[in-house]
Symmetry: C2
Amino acid sequence: MKEKKILLNERDIPKQWYNLAPDLPTPMQPPLGPDGKPVRPDMLAPVFPMNLIEQEVSQKRWIDIPEEILEILYRWRPTPLRRAVYLEQYLKTPARIYYKDESLSPPGSHKPNTAVAQAWYNKQFGIKKITTETGAGQWGSALAFACNLLGLECKVFMVRISFEQKPLRKTMMRIWNAKCVPSPSQETKAGRDILKRIPDTPGSLGIAISEAVEEAVTDKSGKTRYALGSVLNHVLLHQTIIGLEAKKQLKIVGEKMPDIVIGCAGGGSNFAGLSFPFVYEKINGAEIEIIPTEPTACPTMTRGEFAYDFGDVACTTPLLAMYTLGHAFIPPPIHAGGLRYHGMAPLVCQCIVEGLIKPRSYNQIKCYESALLWARTEGAICAPETSHAIACVIEEAERAREEAKEKVIIFNYSGHGLMDLSGYENFLSDKLVNYSLPEEELKKNIASLKNLPKPKMQKSGKW
Amino acid sequence: MKEKKILLNERDIPKQWYNLAPDLPTPMQPPLGPDGKPVRPDMLAPVFPMNLIEQEVSQKRWIDIPEEILEILYRWRPTPLRRAVYLEQYLKTPARIYYKDESLSPPGSHKPNTAVAQAWYNKQFGIKKITTETGAGQWGSALAFACNLLGLECKVFMVRISFEQKPLRKTMMRIWNAKCVPSPSQETKAGRDILKRIPDTPGSLGIAISEAVEEAVTDKSGKTRYALGSVLNHVLLHQTIIGLEAKKQLKIVGEKMPDIVIGCAGGGSNFAGLSFPFVYEKINGAEIEIIPTEPTACPTMTRGEFAYDFGDVACTTPLLAMYTLGHAFIPPPIHAGGLRYHGMAPLVCQCIVEGLIKPRSYNQIKCYESALLWARTEGAICAPETSHAIACVIEEAERAREEAKEKVIIFNYSGHGLMDLSGYENFLSDKLVNYSLPEEELKKNIASLKNLPKPKMQKSGKW
C-alpha cells in the first residue's frame, strides 16, 4: 500500500522559522525611500510594530517561533503531506508527486500561518487594532480569523468589486468579528478623494492599501498598525514552516530530497513557504529544480523587469527591488485573484536573479483543465491560484514519463476552491478566455520606471 | 500541553463496520409493503443492488470493509479526533470536549463515507449508473464525488428551489462529472406530471425521490440503481467507521469511555455513525448518555409519533417503523436543510423506544449563536446542521460546570459551513426567526397515519 497521507504529530512541529536572507549569495538590495536613500527600520514604525520590523531586516538564519504562536498553529498544523497516487496513475508517470495540504486551515489557505504570527507580534507590542486590504478575500478572512483568536480589532478594506461579487467572504470576516468595508470608502481621506473624482469606481488593491495604511498611521492613540499578507520578508519567513514540515515528512517516507519543488506565486508567500528550505539545500549543493508559477495574464517573473518599483498603484510604499510589470499595470480579470499583482516578493526575485529558481507561466484555461483533472483523480477542488502549481506538476510528471525517470515532485497545495466555484462554472460552460500581456503594453509600463533608481545587483550566474 | 488533534494512521483504520441490529434488545420492526405485509429483500431488487440489500437486512454484528473501499477512504480518513480546548476555556467547564472532524472530506461532510461504499457495491454488482435526489446538495455532491472516483455515471435530481438558490452545489457535482438537473424535470413521468399541474412549483424532496427512483427502475438495460444518503440500515452501517475510529482515538489519549455522546440527526446517519459503537457499549453495561439533536422546527424525535409511515411525500416507499411528523409534513425553511425530514432512521428510532438514547431539540437562533461561539473560539465555521450538535454540547458543558463534574463529551462535527454562509449572514443581520411546530398541525399530520399498520413493538423500558 502506498501511504497517501504522511502525518506529523504536534510535538514534531518545527520550532523555528527559516530566514533565507543571510544565505543568499548576494546581499539583498535595500528598500528605498522617496529620496532614493535606503529606508531605515524606524521609518516603518508608524506602519508596522517594531518586533516585526526587526524580523523584516533580520540576518539570523533561524528565528524561534514563540510557544504561544505554535499553540495557535496546532489548531490545524502540522498539515499532512499527501501523495497524489491517483494523478500519478492517471498520468502513468514514474514520478512520485507529494503536496503539502494548506487548504485545511479554517480560512482554507496558507494565509493564516502569517496572519496568526503577525497578530501575535502586534499584540505583544501593545497594538489593539490591525488594518489591511484584501482583493479576493483570502487574506482578509485569514487576518480576521487570527485577530479574533487573539482578541484584536480587525478592519479590512475590500476592493469594492470583490466586495459586491463575493459577499460571503465578508460574511466569513463578520463571523470572525472583523469589520469589512468596501473600498474606496468614506472612512479615509484617500477613499473620499477617489469617490469624489470617480463615484462609481470598482476600486483596486492600490486604493485599498492606501486606505488601510492611512487608517493605521492616523490613529492618534498609536495603537493601530497595518498588516500585509505577502511580499515582505517577515511574511515569507512565517510561511517557511510549510517547507520545514515537508522536509520532516519526506524523511518519514524515505525520500531523501525532492527533484522538483513547485508553488504558485502572486506576492510569493506560499511559494516561498514551501521552497525556501529547499533553496537552502540547493545553496548547499543539492540538485533541485525550483519553480514558481504565475499566470500568462500577469507574467511578473517571466516577462517583467528586475527594477526598483512601488508596491502599490498610488506610489506610497517604499521602492522595492523586484520583478515588476510596472506599478500602473492593471491585470485582466482572471479568476486567480491572488495572482493578480504587478510585483513580487524581493526575496523570491533575488532567487531568480541568482539563478536559484526558474519561473514559468500558464494560461487560465490550461490551469482550469489541470484543476479539473486534479478534482477528478485526487478528489479535491483546488483554488484557482493553486491550479497554476498543478499545471506545472502535470507538465513535469509527463516529462518524467517521457524520460522514464523516477523523479520526486513536491508542490504547495495552497488552498481549496470552495469559495471560488464560479470560475469552475465558467470553465465548464466554455466561458473562459486566455489572456496574455501584449508586448507594447508591457514596454509602456516598464518605461514608466525609467526615472526610478536602478538595482545595483549583478546576476551572479552561479547556479 | 493539551493535545488538540488525535491522529490515527492509515494502517489503524477500522477494518469492519459495526451493525447495531443484532444487538438491539428487541428485534427491528420489518418494513411493510403497500399490502401491509413485510417487504421481502427481492422486492427491493429493482431499486438497490442485491449486495446492499443483503447489508440492509444483515444480522451480522461485524461486516468486513472491502480493501478497495478502504483505499478510497484513506484519501481523507481516518479523520482527526480533535479536542475543543478553546471552547472549554471559554465556558470554564471541567468537561473535556472531543469531536470527530468529518468536515475534512473533499465534499465537506460525513456523507462520502457511505457514498463511496454504495458506489463500490453498485459497481461490484455490475451497475453502471446511480440516480439520487438532493436537497441542500451535501448528499448529491458526495455521491457525485464517489461515482466519479469509481467511474460510474451519476445523475442527481436537485430540488428546484435549492438548484436555483445554490447554483454552486451544481458546479461541485459537474466538477465531479455528475449530471445535476432541477426537480421536477421533464425527464421523468413523475416530473412531467407535476410540471403539467404546477408549472412554477419549487419542487420538494418527495418529488425528487420519485424522479430518481423512476429513472432507476425504468432503465431497460437493468444497469441503473438508486442510492439514498441516510435513513436506511446499510447507510448507517457505513457511517459507523466514525465511532469506531473515535474509540481508538479516545484510548490513545487515555479516555476510557465518554460520558456523553452527541450528534445532530436529520435522517440519522451522522448521529448513528458516531454513536452506534457507543450504544453497543451501553447495551453492554457502560453508563453513557447518548443524545441525537434536531430542530424545534422539525421535531421528529421529540414530538413525533412512533408509527409506520412512508419515507416520501408521494407514498411510494415501503412503510418504515419510525418516529414521524407525518409524510405530508412540510418543514419551515430553516437553514439546516439536512435536518428538514419528517421521518428518522428506523434503527435510531428503535434506540429511542428502547430508552438507549434521548433526543433533544434546539431552535434555529440558539443554534447559530452556538455556531458563532464555536467559530470565535475554535476557529472553524460549521454547517448549520452541525450547530444543532454544538448547541447541545455547550448545554452539557455548562451543566458539567454547574455540577463541577469532570465529564467527557464527544460529538460528531458532521460538516463545514462554507457552502452555507448565507445563513450566518442572515443571523448576523438579525434576519432569522425561530419556528416551532404548532400542536394542531402536528395532530393533523399524525392523524393522517391512522389507517396505516401500527408497530407491534413495546417499549422495553430497560434502560
